[in-house]
């Protein structure tokens, strides 16, 4: 039996709607489930106390600080190298051997499981460079892990800037650097920031790579040389060793809220900046 165009239209519409609804439903179920279980645990004490008796009681203040420090360090390291490489690839070369090597390496790095980065960081930073389990080791390892993503998303954002903007800028007597810094970079900023937000999310949520490099210490970190236990790792240990499901959910809920907040704040900032030009 042949379908009429109207019938196939109807079927396609139903299937597509069903797929979308299923995905949205599942996602919101997971988020709502964790928030419902976790939010009641979160209170001032949970946010300001350090964990006590291995996390069974007390809060997660040291983990919040540790997560923050590791992530900020990783992002601070990756921004100049990642964005610099992206500009080199997009603006300064025209597909030579070096470009292909960089692209191929970045793509290969993006496909490596994070535990491998963890192992690399453990052997190289923790043991060989004698940095020990520390925020520094963790931040460096995460920086390596997110570098391919930052390069890739930044390069795409730069290439998406219309060619005519560059021509206009050159025709107005701008040099290459003036064109990049005054026209291309502001136009690509939204895409670049989106890539960085994505990377922040991955840093905050990472377990394997940081557990092997930043350690499991529960104390409040005092410098980037202190070991720490990030929230995701803390959550993993609490749940895995059956220490406290309640506190695990509390940590998870806080993680979700944090990532949502980062997204909202970053998007608002960038939109405000971009609005000037649109």
């Amino acid at each position: 039996m042949k379908l009429t165009p109207a019938q196939s239209e109807k079927i396609a519409r139903t299937v597509i709607w069903a797929a979308a609804l299923l995905v949205i439903g599942l996602l919101s179920f997971i988020i709502v489930y964790i928030l419902v279980k976790g939010l009641p645990v979160i209170n001032v004490q949970f946010l300001t106390d350090n964990p006590r008796s291995m996390g069974r009681t007390g809060g997660i203040a040291s983990s919040i600080v540790g997560t923050f420090m590791v992530t900020v360090l990783a992002i601070a390291i990756v921004i100049p190298f990642g964005i610099g490489t992206a500009f080199y690839l997009a603006e300064y070369t025209k597909g030579n051997m070096l470009t292909r090597v960089i692209r191929f390496s970045a793509e290969s790095l993006a496909g490596i499981p994070s535990i491998v980065y963890g192992l690399f960081g453990f052997i190289f930073f923790v043991i060989y460079l004698k940095l020990g389990w520390s925020i520094l080791s963790g931040g460096l390892t995460l920086a390596f892990m997110i570098l391919p993503t930052v390069i890739r998303t930044s390069e795409e954002a730069i290439l998406a800037v219309p060619l005519i903007y560059r021509e206009v800028s050159f025709s107005l007597s701008a040099t290459k650097w003036q064109t990049i810094s005054r026209v291309v970079f502001p136009s690509a900023l939204l895409g670049i920031v989106n890539g960085i937000i994505l990377s922040i999310g991955r840093c905050v949520a990472e377990t394997a790579a940081v557990m092997l490099t930043a350690g499991l210490a529960l104390g409040m970190p005092t410098s980037i040389f202190s070991p720490t236990r990030t929230m995701a790792v803390h959550f993993y240990v609490l749940a895995m060793e059956g220490i406290s499901t309640e506190n695990a959910f509390g940590t998870a809920a806080l993680l979700i809220v944090l990532i949502l907040l980062i997204n909202v704040v970053a998007n608002t900032l960038v939109n405000r900046f971009m609005a000037k030009g649109r």
Binding site: S173, A174, Q178, V183, P186, M274, K276, G277
Partner: protein, 253 residues
């Protein structure tokens, strides 16, 4: 006394990879006149204009030989400075292209590049450029809104103002009115006729009528060859070459 030509082109050839797109072109462009360079698509008109401010340098496959002199000095020579050349020879593109920034910043873009000017100077430059481009009265109260929110005709006048703010000597317009309505086109043509008092203008008109209306001299190009060059009356009323006559009477093209 004969005025020295603003731009002199001697035996220019242009190639994209192996394909030649301009053949042995020699031409003198007099100062303070509007010269129209016209021809059907693929005649080399755009390439010709882009070689006058070395914007074709951005096309890595392109290659030029021959000589182009601006005020008697080679623009492709070792002594020439590309950014200074592009300041002196400004360009308005076919599509209106405000940069994604405010009207003010669009026009201040060029003057700010050398970083020497004070805010007061820049403000004065912006106002003068907008007045010259006949856009000031329409936008003076909203200089901080985005250049992209203007209408097409206003955007193109913004682009002209942006070039004028560079205090150039030559203005190149590459089919700069092709997307515009007749009223906007008329406004721009009016400005151009006033501007030629101070500038040398080379325009690729978007149709024959526009060339007839505004140019002092005209050049007809076909498939990369210069077919005919002369005054407005010579070329449009009394063309010497059959191909020119066929093209302007609409027999082909």
């Amino acid at each position: 006394m004969v005025k020295q030509s603003k731009i002199v082109i001697n035996n220019m050839n242009y190639y994209y990879r192996k394909k030649q797109v301009i053949f042995d072109l020699s031409l003198e462009i007099p100062r303070n006149e509007i010269m129209a360079v016209f021809g059907p698509a693929n005649s080399g008109v755009t390439t010709f204009l882009r070689s006058l401010n070395r914007l074709c340098d951005l096309t890595p496959e392109g290659h030029m030989d021959g000589e182009i002199l601006l005020d008697g000095e080679s623009i492709y020579g070792h002594a020439s400075n590309v950014t200074e050349l592009r300041r002196r020879v400004g360009m308005v593109f076919e599509v209106p292209t405000p940069l994604p920034m405010s009207i003010f910043d669009n026009i201040a873009f060029g003057p700010r590049l050398n970083g020497k000017k004070s805010m007061k100077e820049i403000t004065e430059t912006v106002e003068r450029a907008l007045r010259q481009a006949a856009l000031w009265d329409e936008v003076k109260d909203r200089l901080s809104i985005s250049g992209m929110s203007l209408s097409g005709g206003q955007q193109q006048r913004l682009c002209i103002a942006r070039v004028l703010a560079l205090e150039p000597e030559v203005i190149l317009l590459d089919r700069a009115c092709s997307g515009l309505d007749p009223i906007s086109t008329a406004k721009i043509e009016e400005s151009l006729i006033q501007l030629k008092e101070q500038f040398t203008i080379v325009i690729a008109p978007h149709n024959i009528q526009q060339a007839v209306r505004i140019c002092d001299r005209a050049v007809f190009m076909l498939m990369g060859h210069l077919i005919e060059e002369g005054t407005n009356v010579e070329v449009f009323s009394n063309p010497k070459d059959q191909r020119t006559s066929d093209y302007i009477t609409g027999r082909f093209g």
